[in-house]
Each structure stands twice: as structure tokens, then as C-alpha cells.
Point group: C2
Chain length 360, copies 2
């Protein structure tokens, strides 16, 4: 097949990890006789440097005309970067929020699983981690506090700031459906996380999720309060299959879940809209401290490329091929620095990309 893939290097280690993922995609292209047309897009700090804004309208147009977008990471060190001396809506992260909104990427899927080979890196004790875990967090990505009205003003001389958490039933329903659809192909359990004992938006969330659940008779639905979910992730991660939640809770819980795997350098993510167009990116950040050293782990980005093939292009076999190659590289003891343990073979970013290409 012929497909247009937009590539966003972004900042920090972004260019290095996207380079390896592109190499992998090109290998798949050749092996299976596809034609992938790659176009580069600037986003984040590098776009600020060139254009004064973290994402230009032209860049969005290219993304919209693509079949899928693969992103490295954006942003720098908040403390010591010129990209943070400017208005919030001009900072690197604003580019990310803008592309999510403009492409309507309402469903963010973040798998968090314990890799058997990397179980030693799990911060939880063996008693808990030995059960293993494998969950997907489905986070609503274009609503809630992230996109509600906000302002700061003086009221009687007192600075006051307001953010708004808004959800309507349609926004909740469409992301709930995504969660139930994914659960259908997995262990058939959805845990919906909210704060229904306090928030109106959570009570509506809970009602709509229950309506959607009626259409999925074979899926078990449970509700969990967000404070309890933050505890359960640590105590008993094995209980989670699909976790469905709103934007801000999803931000917090998906990061907590990633960390619990102990190998955030391995975790991919997909952000999907109503059509097949999706944005794919590693769950980790731009890691400015190790940028340019060729030591970053490209696997999360390579697995994001596999998700891209699966969800946006419908190329399941090709996605499987990449995932298996990654599995084999791990099994054969190849590791980048972040996941290295004694007795394994340490590889650079480039070498890890090459190894996975070789196994494809």
C-alpha cells in the first residue's frame, strides 16, 4: 500500500529515536512492498527557534493530509531553556496540545506492561510484580481541564485564576467506545476512573460509560475513584486490563503506570481520532540531558511505529513483525543504557535500531 507518514523529530533525543523508527519503517516498506512517503514537520522548541511558534499552520496542514504522524518528543529543561521564557501558549508543549486538538485526537492509548526480560527494573517488589501486568490506559485527550476556558485576573485586587473542566456526553461516549472495543480484544474488563463523589463531570462520565457498557454485554465494567486508582496501581497492577479515564486523571495515572513497569523507554502510545489518522509517540519525554549522545532507547518509538502500522494503516502482520523483532532483541540480551543490566550486551541508539532491522 501507499501511505503518507509525517515525521516530527521534536527536541532533545527526538531526532535520534525518530531516525531509528524511520529506519524500521523503511525496512518494513521494502520487505512487504509498500510505499511510504515521509514528510518532516517541525514542532516544539525547534519550531519556536525557526518560526517563533511551536507549531505552524502549515505544519498542521501537512499532518492533516497524512495517514499518520510519528512523533519523537518535544520540550526542553523548563528551568534553563529559552523556550520557557515566553508565554505559555508559545511554549513547546503548546504545539502538542494544538496538534491533538486540530487533528481531533480524542483517544490516547497508553499500554503499560511488564516485560518479562526487564522485570528486574520494576520498582515494585517481586511479590507484586511476579503476577505480571499488562494494561492499556485509554485517556480522553481533547477535553476536560486541558481545553476548557481559563483566565487569570484581579478580583478586587486579588489575583485569581480559573480553569474549567467540561465534558459533554458525546465526548465521553466516543472515548468510552474506544475503551470497550479494545477490551473486547483483550481480557474483557474496563475500569473507568473518575471522582464521582465530588465532580459533576465525573458523575456524567459514570452515567455515560454505563450507557455504553450496555452495548458490550461481554465486557465487565467497574468504576474506581481516582485516588483509589493511584493506590491500586502500586498495590495490585495485575487487576487492570483497560483503564478508561478523563484527560487530567489520565495524564497522572498513565505516567504512574509507566513508571511502575520500570522501563518507560519501552512504552509506546497512540492518539487517535474518528477517522484512521493517528499520532504515535513514545510515552517518555525528550530527555534533553542525554540528547545527541546516541544512547537513548529507540524501542518506545519503534513500537509506536508498529502501533501506527496497526491502527492507522491496518497493517497487522507488519506490526507483529516489528513487535516480534523487538521481543527477540530483548530475549537475545541486547539493551540500551537505560535498561542495561549485568551480563547483557549494551547497544547505542543506532545499534539497537540496526539490531531490530536485522531481526525484521
Amino acid at each position: 500500500m501507499k501511505a503518507k507518514i509525517a515525521l516530527i523529530n521534536g527536541d532533545g533525543i527526538g531526532p535520534e529515536i525518530v531516525r531509528e523508527a524511520k529506519k524500521v519503517l523503511e525496512t518494513i516498506e521494502k520487505k512487504y512492498g509498500h510505499e511510504f512517503i515521509f514528510t518532516d514537520i517541525d514542532m516544539g522548541g525547534c519550531s519556536i527557534d525557526k518560526y517563533g511558534v511551536p507549531l505552524t499552520d502549515e505544519a498542521i496542514e501537512i499532518a492533516k493530509r497524512s495517514d499518520a504522524v510519528l512523533l519523537g518528543a518535544v520540550g526542553g529543561n523548563v528551568g534553563n531553556s529559552r523556550w520557557y521564557d515566553i508565554a505559555p501558549n508559545l511554549r513547546p508543549e503548546a504545539g502538542l496540545l494544538k496538534i491533538r486538538k486540530e487533528l481531533g485526537l480524542f483517544a490516547n492509548l497508553r499500554p503499560a506492561l511488564l516485560y518479562k526480560e526487564l522485570a528486574d527494573a520494576c520498582p515494585l517488589k517481586t511479590e507484586i510484580s511476579k503476577a505480571g501486568f499488562d494494561m492499556v490506559i485509554v485517556r480522553e485527550l481533547t477535553g476536560g481541564l486541558y481545553f476548557g476556558d481559563r483566565y487569570t485576573k484581579e478580583i478586587d485586587g486579588v489575583r485569581t485564576a480559573v480553569d474549567t473542566l467540561v465534558y459533554n456526553e458525546n465526548e465521553i461516549r466516543r472515548v468510552a467506545k474506544v475503551a470497550f472495543d479494545i477490551a473486547s480484544k483483550r481480557r474483557k474488563k474496563v475500569i473507568s476512573v473518575d471522582k464521582a463523589n465530588v465532580l459533576d463531570s465525573s458523575r456524567l462520565w459514570r452515567n455515560v460509560v454505563e450507557e455504553v457498557a450496555k452495548e458490550y454485554k461481554d465486557i465487565t465494567l467497574e468504576h474506581m475513584l481516582v485516588d483509589n486508582a493511584a493506590m491500586q496501581l502500586v498495590m495490585n497492577p495485575a487487576q487492570f486490563d483497560v483503564v478508561l479515564t478523563e484527560n487530567m486523571f489520565g495524564d497522572i495515572l498513565s505516567d504512574e503506570a509507566s513508571m511502575i513497569t520500570g522501563s518507560i523507554g519501552m512504552l509506546s502510545s497512540a492518539s487517535l481520532n474518528e477517522s484512521k489518522l493517528g499520532l504515535y509517540e513514545p510515552s517518555h519525554g525528550s530527555a534533553p540531558d542525554i540528547a545527541g549522545k546516541n544512547i537513548a532507547n529507540p524501542i518506545a518509538t519503534i513500537l509506536s511505529a508498529a502501533m501506527l502500522l496497526r491502527y492507522s494503516l491496518g497493517l497487522d502482520k507488519e506490526a507483529d513483525n516489528i513487535e516480534k523483532a523487538v521481543g527477540k532483541a530483548l530475549k537475545d540480551g541486547f539493551r540500551t543504557a537505560d535498561i542495561y543490566t549485568e551480563g547483557m550486551t549494551k547497544l547505542t541508539t543506532t545499534e539497537m535500531g540496526d539490531k531490530i532491522v536485522e531481526y525484521i
Copy 2:
């Protein structure tokens, strides 16, 4: 001294744990020649059953006229309790939110520490837990999403729910001062948690916290994004001394931090206002499943009573005495069921209370 202490049994295990804490307070009263006048207040499900509301105005008046309030826990099983078939503002938790607001309890202090004797219960692996940790989370308790305007309505036939996150500089300043004051008596480090890359309220939060920091030259201030904080708690809890954050983030992070200690039955909390009046309660919930069995752990409530003596009545020596007695009970191998491990002596709720009384 003479002091008026209001007691709220609440629901579930509430009456059992408050009973033991009262016993401890009475022991202190005798030993040190104080006069404590105890008054019972109904709150939560038991108040709904009696009065149809989770907290009556009379109850609030009693609380306001007291020097301190000691609370067990409120609420039942959301799934199968008559207390949840009613409007949200009439449910048990509404009583808790109401008393916080009416007494102006804006600063919630939640210590989360690893007890050496209970380190085995910590869900983190030894590599991480061996460093130990001992933090206090200072959570703003009367603002933010919890108390902003909210409504649900149909907009063009589409159900829409809105919650509002509001903070003004005064609300931020006063809770920040509490955090810095506590840090002064501890390891002199405040980590302020926000989501300043997205929220206006977080950007105001950050500015005001920095203003307050200028008055505390010997305290180190760091800012951390909430998603990162959720990760750092798991990876490296030892880095935290005082954590300062807004209401909803504090709800999530303080529960995560409690769970990381592995012994939530040991964790106390205090909610303070501008005067000395405070509400003291265990960090755990009402545990309806084990209610009435005399197996609940009363230590969190007993330690909350110690905090009450320290913060509301200024009785440091007496508070120390309780804390030491608890420490000795642990050291001597006495455990309730929730923290029991082989080789220890298992005690009931009453027996644990008696043991601590004996050691005082």
C-alpha cells in the same frame, strides 16, 4: 489545661477506632492532669440515617465551639448502600466536604513515612525502600475543583457537565506558608506540585509559592509537574520532604504516597484552619467490610489524636508520649491483622488500644 474535643465516630470501623483513640486521650488527660471535655457529633451515613443529612447545622456549631475535632471515617460501600441512592450533596462524603468548608480547614497535612518495623509491607522493592522515606503532604483543602461552581445541563440536547478549578493568591499563600513552616522544622525542602504547563491556576500557584519562598531563605523550593510527581513517588520517595499541592492533585498524590508506605493503617492526618482549630483523622477509609469485628487498626486514629494534642492544644510532650508508646508497641512485636507478619503477636483493635495505653 481544659479543652473541648468533639468526637465523630462516623461509619464502618469509625466507632471502634475512635473508641481506642479516646481511651488514649483519657489516659493522657489523667497522667498530665488536663481536663478534656468530649462531645459526640454525628457525621456521614449515621447522620443520614438519623437526620436525613450527612451533617446537621447543630453538629457544625458544636465543632466550631470545640478546640479540636477527632474523626474516625465516613462512608459506606458505594455499590450497595442506601447512602448512595440519594443526591450527591446528601451523601456521607458531603458531610466531610461541608465540615472542611465550614471550619475553614484549608491545610491538610498527611505524613507518609516508612516504619522501619513494617518495611516488609512496603510495595516497593528493597533497592528503593531501603533508603527509607518520610514526607508530609500539605494539600490545599478548601479550594480548587472541590469547591468551584459546578452544574450539569443540556446544551442543544447534549448533556454537559462543568466543574470549575479556582484559586486566588490568598488561598495559595496561606497554604504555602503552612508548608514552608513545616519544612523549617524538618529537612528544609518544599516540592510544590502543579500542572503549570497547562493550567492557569497552576501558573498562579507557582508564582505565589515563589513569592512565599522569598520569606524562607533557608528552605529549598522545587517545582514538579503532577504527572512527574506521580512517577517520582514510586521511583524515589526518599527525595520528598514537604510536598505542597492543590486539592485534587493532593487527593491523588497523598493516597499514592500512603499506599507506598504499605501501612495505611498507621497514617494520621490533620486539617487546620487559620486559628488553632483542627480536624484530625486517619488517612484510611471506613472499611465497611471489617466493621464491627474488632480487628481494625486503631493506630492511625491514635496518632491523629497525638497530632491533635500537638497542633490544636500545643501539648507537644503529651503528643511525643503517644508517638513513643506506638513506637514501642511496634518494636515489641504487637500488630493488628492488617500489619501482621509471622512471629509477631496479633492483637484486636481493643487490645492494641490497651497496649498503647499501658505504654503511656
